[in-house]
């Protein structure tokens, strides 16, 4: 009977919910399945490479890590945005770098419009890094508009406000002819995707 009681404790290294791992603990893991060749490179000594004549069975390893912050510690929207930030920043940078080649010579400014300043800074920083990784020159300068302009712009519909702000940036010289501004905008509190807009020579374009 004693043996019987301990049998469910087998396979405890499996990250799926089991006799000692609750559903919540299992959901706090982010996992990826890696093939032996890739695993041997990324985790040498822990994952064996495939044998020279091939493995007997189809082998792969599930590599899991705990989330940096426990689920529920950050607001769900911040969590959703930050969890995928690196991928999304790289995606935006790739789209920007594939635009008009003449834009590659400009100095890129990044401006993020998001509710929480801490998250906003992280988004801007990740995007600046991703742009630099694409070989673009990036400045951490923030374009400014006059307080009177802000009062007008905040009353406009977002679809009109950003183009108008772009025009003002150029008129005031805040974004000059040698600069290009990439703006990341949270348009709806229910969205986890930020919309990317481009301000070049006073003209505003939403990136597809």
């Amino acid at each position: 009977m004693l043996t019987f009681a301990f049998i469910p404790f087998l396979q405890l290294n499996d990250p799926a919910p089991n006799i000692v791992r609750s559903r919540d603990r299992a959901r706090n893991l982010v996992c990826v399945r890696v093939e032996p060749l890739q695993g041997a490179v990324e985790y040498p000594g822990r994952i064996q490479p495939p044998r020279p004549r091939g493995d007997d069975a189809d082998r792969s390893t599930l590599v899991c890590r705990e989330r940096l912050l426990r689920r529920g510690l950050r607001a769900p929207r911040d969590e959703a945005v930050l969890n995928t930030l690196e991928d999304r920043a790289q995606d935006v940078a790739l789209r920007v770098s594939s635009l008009d080649p003449a834009l590659r010579d400009r100095t890129w400014l990044v401006e993020t419009f998001y509710d929480h300043p801490e998250v906003l800074d992280k988004i801007s920083f990740a995007t600046q890094n991703a742009l630099m990784a694409q070989g673009l020159s990036v400045s951490d300068r923030h374009p400014k508009v006059a307080p009177g302009d802000v009062e007008v712009l905040t009353r406009l519909d977002p679809m009109e406000a950003y183009p108008a702000a772009c025009a003002r940036y150029q008129a005031t010289g805040s974004v000059s002819g040698t600069d290009a501004l990439l703006a990341l905008v949270a348009l709806d509190r229910r969205a986890t995707e930020l919309q990317a807009g481009l301000c070049v020579d006073g003209r505003w374009t939403w990136l597809p």
Partner: protein, 235 residues
């Protein structure tokens, strides 16, 4: 007799690996898509038989209709991944079910393509050997990893969003594992954490439909921004 009955017992758990357990902000019970017309394409193949694809489409149709969208569904055989809208017989894909068309306001046209793949299957033969030798007291384990590919396009076929959600199911069979977990369910697990109930299916459905709602909402917003941008340029 009792042992024979217990030996058929199994505990099936669902484990989200990637994307499925990300936070969802939209509330699927609210009208998030009332300004959208969504065509849901459930593509049979690999993990999805034609009838399963059809069942999935029906559920997704209800999910989006509950959020105010006008929905049509398509479950056709597709010629190739590069040409997803051409069915194998050359005829245009017929809508199997469609909600009543709404002619009041212009709606954002979206096409959602759903595909499911099995990316890994393992029977863990040693566990099944132990299962046999111990008369099902040791658990026999079968593990599957699946991927759900979701692509959202606009009316002209331009891709607005693409995500792959991954999860796995682990099935542990045998009298030992079933009794052990049943006792744990009775004694110390919360109802939400029960492993011998239908929680696995409920969790998988909640995750998948939540993520679908979020992805389609984000895609709709992006499409509306681009549509308004194009309209503003024409003025």
């Amino acid at each position: 007799m009792l042992l024979a009955a217990l030996s058929t017992g199994c505990v099936r758990v669902y484990h989200p690996i990637h994307g499925l357990h990300e936070p969802v902000i939209v509330d699927p019970t609210l009208p998030n898509l009332e300004d959208a017309r969504v065509s849901v394409h459930c593509v049979p193949g690999d993990l999805l038989s034609r009838s399963q694809a059809s069942a999935l489409c029906r559920r997704v149709q209800v999910l989006f209709e509950n959020q105010g969208a006008e929905v049509s569904t398509v479950t056709s055989a597709y010629r190739s991944p590069d040409d997803p809208f051409t069915p194998s017989d050359g005829a245009p894909p017929a809508d199997e079910q469609a909600s009543e068309p709404d002619t009041d306001a212009p709606r954002t046209e979206l096409t959602v393509e759903l595909r499911a793949r099995q990316t890994h299957l393992s029977y863990h033969p040693l566990t099944w050997a132990a299962w046999t030798l111990t008369f099902t007291l040791a658990p026999g384990v079968t593990e599957r990893t699946f991927a759900q590919d979701i692509v959202v396009r606009d009316a002209s076929g331009v891709r607005l969003a693409a995500r792959t959600l991954e999860g796995r199911t682990v099935r542990r069979s045998g009298a030992g594992v079933w009794v052990g977990n049943k006792l744990a369910d009775w004694w110390w697990r919360d109802a939400d954490d029960d492993l011998t109930s239908a929680n696995a299916d409920a969790d998988l459905s909640a995750d998948l439909y939540g993520q679908l709602s979020q992805i389609v909402f984000d895609a709709k917003l992006k499409q509306q921004v681009l549509e308004r941008d194009v309209a503003a340029r024409r003025r």
